[in-house]
Amino acid sequence: MKEPTWLQKGLNRFGFWGFVVLAAFALALFFLVYPLIGMLSRSFLPNEGGAFSLKNYVDFFRLPYYFNTLKHSFAVSITTTVFAILLGVPMGYVVARFNIPGKKLLNAMVVISLLSPPFIGAYSWIMLLGRNGFITNLVRHIGIEIPTIYGFRGLILVFTLKLFPFIYMYVQGALQTFDSSLEEAAENLGVHGLKKLLTVTFPLIMPTITAGAVVVFMTSLADLGTPMLIGEGYKVLPVLVYEEYMSEIGGNATMASTLSVIIILCSLSVLLLQKISIGKRSYSMSGLRPPAVKKLGKLPFVVLTILCYFIALCALAPQITTMVTSFIKTRGPLFVPGFSLESYRSVWFKLSANIARTFLYSTIAMMFMILIGMFTSYVIVRRKSSITNILDFVLMSPYVIPGSVLGIILVMAFNKPPVVLTGTAAIMIISYTIRKIPYIIRSSTGILYQLDLSSEEASINLGVSPMKTFFKITAILMLPGVLSGAILSWISTINELSSTLILYSGRTGTISVAIYTEIMKDGYGTAAALASILTFATIISLLVFNTLTKGKGSVV
C-alpha cells in the first residue's frame, strides 16, 4: 500500500470529517446564527437606552394595526391551503387514476407554473383582472363588472393557483406508488367507490397531503412580492416587516426585528403542528403493483379532461400572459394594439446587467450549495452524532425564515465595520445560499439514505481509506442527485425576490428586482419581457433537470 502523504496523515489524525463539521459550524455561526441572535436581541431593545423590554411585543399584541396583520396572514395562508387542497387533491387523483390524455403535457404545464415566482402571478392577474385588466374590460362591454382583484381576494387567487401544484404533484406521486392490493382488499370486503376513497385511499396518502399543505402554508405566509403588488391595503406580516424596516433603517430596526421573530415563530409552530399530527404515522407502501389506470365513460372523460386542462391553463396563465404582453407595443403604461420587440429592446438597453447578474449570482450560489450540501449531508447521514444532529438542525433552520427577514438580519449584521457586506453581490449570494441550503441538505441526505452502504464498505475493504472512498465512490454516486436538487434551487434562486428586495443596490440588482420596480413604475411591457426571460430560463433548466434524472426526478 502507498505510504500516505503528510497531508493525508494530518487530515486522518484530525479527521477530515471533523474538519468538515467544524467548517460547517463556523460558516453557519457567522452567517446565520450571529445575525439571528442580533435580530432576537434587537427585538427586546425598543428604546434608545438599550434597556431590555417587552414593549415591542406588547405593542404587537395590543395594537390592532399590528395584530390585525397577524390575523390577515393566517387568514390568507389558511384559506389558500384549504383551496389548494380542494383543487390539488381531486385533480391529482383524476390525473393519476384515469386516462386523461396528455398527462406529460399537463404535468409540464403545472411544473412550469410551480417554478415561477408568485409575484409574477400577481402582476399577470392584475393585467387580466385588475381595474383596467384585459378580461375586466372585455366583460365590461357585456355589462359584467368584475369585483376588485386587489386585497384579500387577489392574494387568495394568486396563491392558490400558484401553490396548488405542490399538493397536486405530491398526491400524484403518492397515488402512483400506492399498493393497489390495499384497495382491492377493500373491494373484496364490499367497500367501493367514494366510501373506499374516504376510508382507505385518502387516509393512506394523508401524510403526503399534509406535507404538501405545510409547504403551501409556509410559502404563502412568507411571500413578500405578491402582497406588495396586489395586497394594496390588506397588510400581511411580510409587508409589515418590510415597511417597518424601511422606516426604521439607519437607526435600529427594533420593531422590524420583533415582527421577524413573530413570523418565524408562526412558521415554526406550523411545522411542529404537522410533526405532531403525523407523528409516527408514516405509511410506507411497497408499491409492488401500482394501480392500473381506469378508463372513463364518454361524458366524464370529456368533462374531466376539459376541467383539468382549464385548471392547468389558469395556473399557467401568468406565464402565458407575460409572454404575450412582452410582445405588445406599449406607450408608457398603456398597451396599444400591435406587436413589437420594443419591450425587449428596452430591457436590453436598461437592464442587460441585471440579467447577467441574476444568472451569475445564482450559479455561484449553486456551486456553494453543492459543495456544502454534499459534505455536510455526508456527515449528517454517515457520521451521525449529537453534534451532527445539531448541525442538521441549524442548517435546516432557514426553512422557517422568510426571505425578507433573512435579508433584514443580514443587513443589520453586516452593515458596519469590521465586516461590511451591504450593497455587495456577496451578501446576496450568501442570502441565496442560506435560503436554499435546507432543500439541498434534504435532497442530498435523501440520496445518501438510498445509496447502499455496501458500495462504500466494498471500497474500504479493498484498501481505500474512508476519506478517499468518499471522493472516489460516494460523491460520484451522489452527484447526479445532488446536481438535480441544485438545479431546482438554481431555478428558484433566479426567481427570488423577497430577500433581494432588501439586499440589492444599484450595482447588484437582479431580474426580479427589475420586474418589481418596472411594475411599480408602470413599465408593464418591460416587466413582461423580463418575466418571459425568467420563464424561458426556467424551462431550459427543467429540460436539463429531466435529462439528469432520466425523467424520473421529482420537482417537489
Binding site: 500500500m1 502507498k2 447502499d452 466494498a458 484498501g463 481505500v464 481509506s465 460520484i476
Partner: protein, 354 residues
C-alpha cells in the same frame, strides 16, 4: 497472502445487548469455514468484526501472528464479497476489479495482468469492458468475487453471497466458488443461513445461535453427531421424542432398548431421530406402536408422519426403490430405531449423551 484466522474469546456489545458472547474459532490456512445459523444469530456481525466494520469489545482476532483489532478496515486486507455484490455502478467491470489494485499502487502492467487472470478464473473475460448495469445477478456475483480475490487477501470473507440468486444459479455458483477457493487455497469465512449450502461447500462449519457457537465440526460430524438439540434441529430434520434413561437403557413409550452412551446418566432425555434413522413395519415386531397421520409423496421417497402416542410425532422417510408397501393415513405401524445413528440429549437439549 492466505493466513490462518484466530478468533479468541471475542465479544461484541451494543449498549446492554451482547450480540457476540466470547466466541473462539480457529481456522486453518486455506480452509473453507462456514458460519451457519438462523437470522439474528450473530454470524454476519462476527464476519463484519473480522472485516473491521464492527468494533470488537473484548477478545482478539488474529490473521496469522498479527492482531488486527486496532487496524482500520481499509488496511486489513480481508477481501469481502457482499450479499448484494456492491459492484460500483459507475465503473466498468475492468475498473471494478482493478479498484483494489490501483489503491495498492500496482503498476498499470501488473494490474492488467492480474485482472485478466482473475477474470479468466471466474470466466468473465469477455465482459471486461461492460458496465455493471448490463450484467445479470450471477455475473455480478462473479465480478464481486474476482474483485475480492485479485488483491490476494489474507482472508476471504463472504456474506451470504448466493442468497439473492435463484435456486438453479445458486447451485451452479456453489461449485464455482468452491473450486476457485480450493484452487487458490485462500482462507475463507463464509456466512449463510442455508444449511444445505453449508454442508455442501464447507471444510468445517460453526453453527451459531444467539451470539454463541453451538458446535464446530465437519459437515459430517455436525450432521451425524450434533452436540445439542439446537444443532440437531437446525441441520436436516429431526423428530424429538421424550424418553427416560437409566444406565444404558432408554425407555420410550413403554418400550426399552439399549444404547451406547458417552457417560452415565439417569433421568429424562430426548431422543433425536432423523427420518432415515427409523424403520416402519406393518407387522408387530417389538417396536414402538404408532399410527400413520400423513403420507406425503415427494418423488423418490415418501415422508410419513407417525403418531406414536403421548404427543410424540415421528417423521420417517421410505425410499421407493426399497419396494416397500405404501401406507395410508390411519394405518397401524411399528417403529424401530437405528440405535447407532440416533442421537440422545438431556431433557433440556443442551448436552449430547452419545
Amino acid at each position: 497472502m492466505s493466513q490462518p484466522l484466530f478468533i479468541e474469546e471475542v465479544t461484541k456489545r451494543y449498549g446492554d445487548f451482547t450480540a457476540i458472547d466470547r466466541v473462539s474459532i480457529s481456522i486453518d490456512k486455506g480452509e473453507f469455514f462456514t458460519l451457519l445459523g438462523p437470522s439474528g444469530c450473530g454470524k454476519t456481525t462476527l464476519l463484519r468484526m473480522i472485516a473491521g466494520f464492527n468494533s470488537i469489545e473484548a477478545g482478539t482476532i488474529r490473521f496469522g501472528q498479527t492482531v488486527i483489532n486496532s487496524i482500520p478496515a481499509y488496511k486489513r486486507n480481508a477481501g469481502m464479497v457482499f450479499q448484494n455484490y456492491a459492484i460500483f455502478p459507475h465503473l466498468s467491470v475492468y475498473d471494478n476489479v482493478a479498484y483494489g489494485l490501483k489503491a495498492r499502487g500496482y503498476s498499470k502492467a501488473e494490474i492488467e495482468k492480474d485482472v485478466e487472470e482473475v477474470l479468466g478464473l471466474v470466466k468473465m473475460s469477455e465482459y471486461k469492458d461492460r458496465q455493471p448495469s448490463q450484467l445479470s445477478g450471477g455475473q455480478q456475483q462473479r465480478i464481486a468475487l474476482a474483485r475480492a480475490i485479485v488483491i490476494k487477501p489474507d482472508v476471504l470473507l463472504m456474506d451470504e453471497p448466493l442468497s439473492n440468486l435463484d435456486a438453479k444459479l445458486r447451485i451452479e455458483m456453489r461449485s464455482v466458488i468452491k473450486k476457485i477457493q480450493q484452487n487458490l487455497n485462500i482462507t475463507t469465512v463464509y456466512v449463510t443461513h442455508d444449511q444445505e449450502e453449508a454442508l455442501a461447500m464447507s471444510d468445517r462449519i460453526a453453527v451459531m445461535n444467539l451470539g454463541t457457537v453451538q458446535q464446530i465440526g465437519t459437515p459430517l460430524q455436525i450432521y451425524t453427531r450434533p452436540q445439542n438439540s439446537f444443532v440437531s434441529n437446525f441441520i436436516g430434520i429431526s423428530s424429538f421424542l421424550s424418553c427416560s434413561v437409566a444406565g444404558n437403557t432408554v425407555s420410550l413409550l413403554g418400550h426399552a432398548f439399549d444404547m451406547k452412551l458417552a457417560r452415565a446418566y439417569t433421568g429424562n432425555a430426548v431422543l433425536a431421530v432423523r427420518p432415515e434413522e427409523a424403520t416402519l413395519k406393518t407387522i408387530e415386531n417389538g417396536g414402538v406402536a404408532g399410527r400413520v397421520q400423513f403420507a406425503t409423496f415427494l418423488g423418490d421417497f415418501i415422508n410419513y408422519e407417525i403418531e406414536l402416542g403421548g404427543d410424540c410425532v415421528l417423521q420417517v422417510n421410505e425410499y421407493l426403490k426399497e419396494g416397500l408397501p405404501i401406507k395410508k393415513t390411519g394405518d397401524k405401524v411399528w417403529v424401530t430405531f437405528d440405535r447407532k445413528s440416533v442421537n440422545l440429549f438431556t431433557a433440556d437439549g443442551k448436552e449430547s449423551l452419545v
